[in-house]
Amino acid sequence: MWSLILRRLLVAIPTLFLVMVFVFILQRMLPGDPLLVMAGEERDPVVLEELRKLYGFDRPIPVQFLIWLREVATGNFGASLRTGAPVTELIAQTLPVTIQLAVASLIIALLIGIPTGVLSAVKKGTWLDYLANAISLSGLSIPNFWLGIILILFVSVNLRWLPASGFVSVFDDPVEAFRTTIMPAFVLGTGLAATLMRHTRSAMLEVLRLDYVRTARAKGLLESKVILKHALRNALVPIVTLSTLLFGQLLAGAVLTEQVFTIPGFGKLIVDAVFNRDYGVVQGVVLCTAVAFILMNLIADVLYIVINPRLRTT
């Protein structure tokens, strides 16, 4: 297992390098001058030239890239061109927000996806199965931002039950954290629940026809134990992997939902940075996302081994 981790980490280095190259090039291909955004009303060519020199934007692009690479390698992820705040600080502020949202979303997705997946596998071909499938299909096809807006209109504006926007950390005020996180987490979670449900269903169907399930019945175990212990334990192996990967996606991809609910998270950070041509922040955030993704993949691989006795001992 350690050799697997080591191998993965070695592969991660070229992966991260490629990510850096791409984000660097793509960003500079975008129209718009970061200095104009930054300088605001200041249009004095002399001042602009000074600034350009100061930030190194007058150098050739490959040189700029190498400078960035050197800085990152020494642990300096740069600063916002607009506010001067260090990128690490911005990430440290927004990442916990997104993590809280991602954890809440994943919990909701698992709580909905796994039981319905198990149920529709066990009741395969009955109206319950069809109902679960129909709901999950609609869950997959409803866009998150639309569901978010509808929820805000209904729950916040009409019923006034929950706040429409904002964020409170669970460590500051659990109750308020719950109230601000539940709606966006529900929006993100239900989308993932549909995916989880389908995978759980097919994994369960696969497992339920195996011989050891028959053995469990032959022992006289009650059907609930046969399904929830003997079958589900094995069906969960691919589900755990999938959930970890979904979590990685949540960290990177909650952009729209964060916008709809005005949550000051990772997604909002990057969207603002892109619109402001804030090169340093975009680069830092994308790099951080890439690292998170690689880590989640690694965790998925390790978990797969940990919960799979056949692999653990080899």
């Binding site: 028959r214 053995t215 019945r217 022992k219 006289g220 003997h230 094995n234």
Partner: protein
């Protein structure tokens, strides 16, 4: 069903007219199978692949998946209670306790996610409500009884760490841990190396004698049948074509199919290894003949055989039954036997 077919006391299992159909098949894959089994007795079930031996065994255990399987008729009285009409819960109370089964597939019959010891202990805990610790103690005990070397260490092993023979020993241990009154062993050695097969069968036979339990053994090995069976049931295409005491079946087989299997009739079957072969093969269920299902392969078949189903009738030997219009065959085979 008529009254009066209820089991005489002393029968562990009495199956009456068990009939199994699968959704989408217009034919009974097991057709009115009847047999009984006394305390401590061994019944060997023989017949070519696809005859319905496994689904008969699974039906008795209540392990046939329904759908697609449907039991359309019959009873299976186990110590006086009908297994086929029993609600799920009391049936599950019997399974793995007084009624146990060993399967043909040792490689896939154990759950890969749990330790051997826990899988066996689970059966004890389920039926005797003992602690997990006590369950593991009994698991260790039974692993020793099935002679697994280093049993103590095996308790914590996962199935993939064991060979096929060892896994089948574990399955046997799991089936026997609660000392059942009836053990159903469905070709327990078919999937194993030839060298291991004899060991496992000897083990099963020995444990059975020790425990005094009744056993239904499904096997292809007529040598084993001759050795361990009290009674034999010969199945062909979903029907019992001949049943009786092992001596009668071997010394005086009456049904042409049984004759072929046992290989005592040179023109019908050549003995190859221990199992004789019969010309042709079992037709697929949708092409079972309407009358006697053996008619397509039987050298004695006539027009009546194609139309009518021959009933199982008692021969001159008590307890020996055969389903063939031409039985006893002696009067017909004069010219055939070399």
């Amino acid at each position: 069903m008529e009254a009066g077919v209820s089991a005489p006391t002393g029968d562990v299992l009495a199956v009456d007219e068990l009939t199994i159909r699968f959704d989408g098949h217009g034919v009974d894959l097991v057709d009115r199978a009847s047999f009984r089994l006394g305390r401590g007795e061994t019944l060997c079930l023989v017949g070519e692949s696809g005859c319905g031996k496994s689904i008969t065994a699974l039906a008795v255990m209540g392990l046939l998946a329904s759908p697609p399987a449907r039991i359309t008729r019959g009873r299976a009285l186990f110590q006086g209670e009908d297994l086929l009409s029993m609600p799920r819960k009391p049936l599950a109370d019997l399974r793995g306790n007084r009624l146990a089964m060993i399967f043909q597939e040792p490689m896939t019959s154990l759950n890969p996610a749990f330790r051997i010891g826990d899988q066996i202990a689970e059966a004890v805990v389920r039926h005797h409500g003992v602690s997990q610790q006590e369950g593991r103690a009994r698991a260790l005990d039974v692993l020793r009884r099935v002679r697994i070397p280093a049993a103590e260490k095996r308790l914590d092993a996962y199935p993939h760490q064991l060979s096929g023979g060892m896994r089948q020993r574990v399955m046997i241990a799991m089936a026997l841990v609660n000392r059942p009154d009836l053990l159903i062993a469905d070709e327990p050695t078919t999937a194993l190396d030839v060298t291991i097969q004899a060991q496992i069968l000897a083990l099963i036979a020995e444990l059975q004698r020790e425990a005094g339990m009744a056993m239904i053994l499904v096997t292809h090995d007529l040598g084993v049948v001759a050795e361990v069976a009290d009674r034999v049931a010969v199945m062909y295409a979903g029907r019992f074509v001949e049943t009786g005491p092992v001596d009668a079946i071997f010394s005086d087989p009456q049904h042409p199919y049984a004759l072929g299997l046992i290989g005592s009739l040179p023109s019908l079957g050549k003995r190859e290894g221990r199992l004789a072969t019969i010309a042709g093969s079992v037709p697929p269920p949708q092409r079972f003949p309407a009358g006697c299902r053996f008619a397509t392969r039987c050298p004695f078949a006539d027009e009546r055989c194609a139309r009518e189903v021959p009933p199982l009738v008692e021969t001159s030997t008590p307890g020996h039954q055969v389903a063939c219009f031409k039985a006893p065959l002696e009067i017909h085979v004069g010219g055939l036997a070399a």
